[in-house]
Symmetry: C2
Subunit: 156 residues, 2 copies
DNA sequence: CCAAGATATTTCAAGCTTAAAGTTTTATGC
DNA sequence: GCATAAAACTTTAAGCTTGAAATATCTTGG
């Protein structure tokens, strides 16, 4: 065989490591800002917002396991957050006839109304925080991240 | 927040919101994978790794406030993580002559050795997890994220 | 039917995280 | 000097997070 110079498998990992660090810092910076604003302006938290956002897209409701899969967090975690949302009257757990292990989690009317308000502010904040990223860059970056993600989907 | 596209049909913010969601999902996916491997292979955690990584770059040591600023986390948070690292013998708090409020936090020899091992594995993992991102894309993406960050530096 | 396994969820212990309040030490204005 | 403010850090309470163990329910092969 005419084995040419091997394509240096890891030799160039430096740029990827740098990318990861930037990625992490960017998302942490934005996350911190969002958390602070959610707390200050709506007296809520990011995890609660995440759960409500997921439920908002699913008027028919979601199972606990749907939620944890969609949000990329553990089962036990969702239990606690939903417990608190239920106790605040924003969400309900509806027992199902068919399978008594599960329950459909849904936004209440109050939860829906509350989320719509917060989501509008949230979208504005993101526009502001990412204001310096041009729409074109945003689309290109999104594309890169999407292809990255599809590389990982279904691994866990 | 790992929410899907919100129904708000605001014309211009849409792409940025989508970008934010992708960014968050990507970093959470990678973070989860790293956390799991750190636990399984080295019986440690991401926050511990982050602190040790910061200290590794600063052989002369860092103040608690330096650490919390650099890592983008709260003061009290760093206190707990450093406490645990100290109790494991990986880090020391050296009282300073000048200012008795502060102490220099440094890696111990054991901590340095331990971190070097873990960091090597970590760099390999990142190379693997971001393997589908070309080096060129990685550099371009890093550039975008860097300019974004500089937009925010000094705001808090 | 029913035992054995699979699923869906909750509980638990340990650790991470923040914001706010408290402690100790240093710096400053008068 | 010395009261007062500022700075560096720790403590605290509440909530988030995970992985593992426990519970309850459903499914399936015999």
């Amino acid at each position: 065989m005419v084995a040419g110079p091997l394509p240096a498998p890891s030799g160039t990992g430096k740029d990827r490591l740098r990318l990861w660090i930037r990625l992490l810092r960017a998302s942490r910076t934005i996350e911190a800002e969002l958390r602070e604003r959610l707390k200050k302006e709506f007296d809520t938290t990011l995890p609660r917002f995440d759960v409500m956002a997921a439920l908002y897209r699913a008027p028919e409701g979601m199972l606990m396991s749907d939620l944890s899969r969609f949000l990329l967090v553990s089962n036990g975690n969702v239990t606690g957050i939903v417990d608190r949302l239920v106790s605040e009257g924003l969400v309900t757990r509806a027992r199902r006839n068919g399978d008594r292990r599960t329950s459909m989690v849904r936004l209440t009317d109050e939860g829906t109304k509350s989320f719509a308000t917060i989501a509008a502010a949230h979208e504005g904040w993101i526009g502001e925080l990412l204001g310096k990223v041009s729409e074109e860059d945003a689309r290109r970056l999104t594309g890169m991240l999407t292809s990255f993600r599809s590389n990982w989907e279904g691994r866990e």
